[in-house]
Symmetry: C2
DNA sequence: TGTATTCAGAGAGCAGTGCTCTCGCAATCT
DNA sequence: AGATTGCGAGAGCACTGCTCTCTGAATACA
């Protein structure tokens, strides 16, 4: 079932060639259609496979730290995502890059594996909140920046009940921003948006960004 | 010189077909090669064109507000980027999505137009700093989260001199994170990463995220 | 005005793609 | 032993990027 994973890794998602996959398997192209309905389903399989591998690595990295080490777990999550993304840039692009033209992922098969990272992130934040270790950072306390508009509050309420969380609106919204920001930073690095050699020390850059995001999420940096 | 812009808009970057562009122009495919060396150069032209249109709209939105309204200008920048991205999702994907397989953008032609948004963003932050209106948010003051490792500090110093800025390391790093976070949030929305109807009020979500990012950047929300 | 040059586009053709169809071979089941 | 099933091969369709040659028209030059 490793249909074309290494080929995707080499050539990228949009250029994924069913015929090339067949060649890698030492088989003619029409034979692949015995196992896969079309190129779309091949992409779907690769999508689910990638989501699950990323989810596995994130879960392993997070689970290696004690449950109460919320800040440590958050950092482990971010580092695991980045490590996987840098190791598998094409597959990362398939998951978080521009959608493949003409391809629409079947939600009923991909939402499960596709929500594992945000699930893990929210579990950390929710656990920290329930343990009284998640505080609204000072810069949001006095002003109304953290105020949540009514329609957004409705969306957040649906997410909270849907995921079984306890965090209040403002912190939930911060969690969502941390989520998108994490992937934004990683995407910039993986996709080469920073420019050729703008950052000679990308590890330090990311570590700094992770620390800032932890602060944004309301996680104290204590161990 | 509108070679295939609408075609890209419809079908996406990776599916951009030189032959289809030729058809749109009412011409046979080989004729296009009179004006464009190959598909790569066609992509490069579209890339530069998109960068410049985005840059123009951002500059216009930012320039519509008084120079001293740093927070307003920041919000205008973010809203302009999002507006353009939602209006031109395929072109946005070309700029900020997964790289087109086998295509390498020529830095000497694209870095100029490609840095206009970060340039505008940094100008706002730098202006606010020089005006004494950019403060390190409270949540970074007491701890060492904002401490910048030595190699990262070297990178930041190069950026500062290269762009002629005055902001210190910690704020410059925050600016970079705000930059990537902004595009991370927009990419999630444009690329449909949030899930089908997770957010019924995406405008409110983005407005909230922009406010949080303004806080992260150190911009007071005063007018 | 007559010739030479340039240039835009057409058309054929190459190798590649996704995909469908038919066919043959081999293992399996009854 | 005979029928069924499944796997893979091969041909063929329309599409792609790209190269080549050829034609026809506009232009430059004398």
């Amino acid at each position: 079932m490793r249909l074309g994973r290494e080929h995707l890794a080499v050539h990228g998602a949009a250029a994924l060639s069913l015929r090339a996959v067949a060649r890698d398997l030492g088989v003619v192209s029409s034979a692949v259609y015995r196992y896969v309905e079309n190129r779309e389903e091949l992409l779907t399989l690769l999508l689910i496979d990638a989501y699950n591998e990323l989810g596995d690595e994130v879960d392993a990295a997070v689970g290696a730290l004690p449950e109460a080490d919320f800040a440590g777990r958050f950092r482990a999550l971010g580092e695991a995502v980045r490590r996987w993304a840098l190791r598998e840039p094409a597959r990362y692009g398939l998951l978080f890059g521009s959608p493949v033209p003409g391809y629409r992922a079947p939600a009923e098969r991909t939402t499960g594996p596709g929500t594992r990272v945000i699930r893990a992130l929210m579990d950390i934040l929710d656990g920290a909140y329930r343990a009284g270790r998640l505080a609204a950072p000072d810069d949001s306390a006095p002003d109304d920046r953290a105020a949540v508009a009514a329609p957004l509050a409705a969306d957040l309420a649906a997410i909270r009940t849907g995921m079984g969380l306890a965090v209040p609106d403002a912190l939930l919204a911060r969690g969502a921003l941390v989520w998108t920001s994490l992937f934004g930073a990683i995407s910039f690095e993986v996709f080469g948006q920073y420019g050729a050699d703008t950052f000679a020390a990308p590890d330090d850059l990311f570590a700094h960004q992770l620390a800032l995001l932890a602060g944004l999420a309301g996680l104290a940096q204590a161990a």
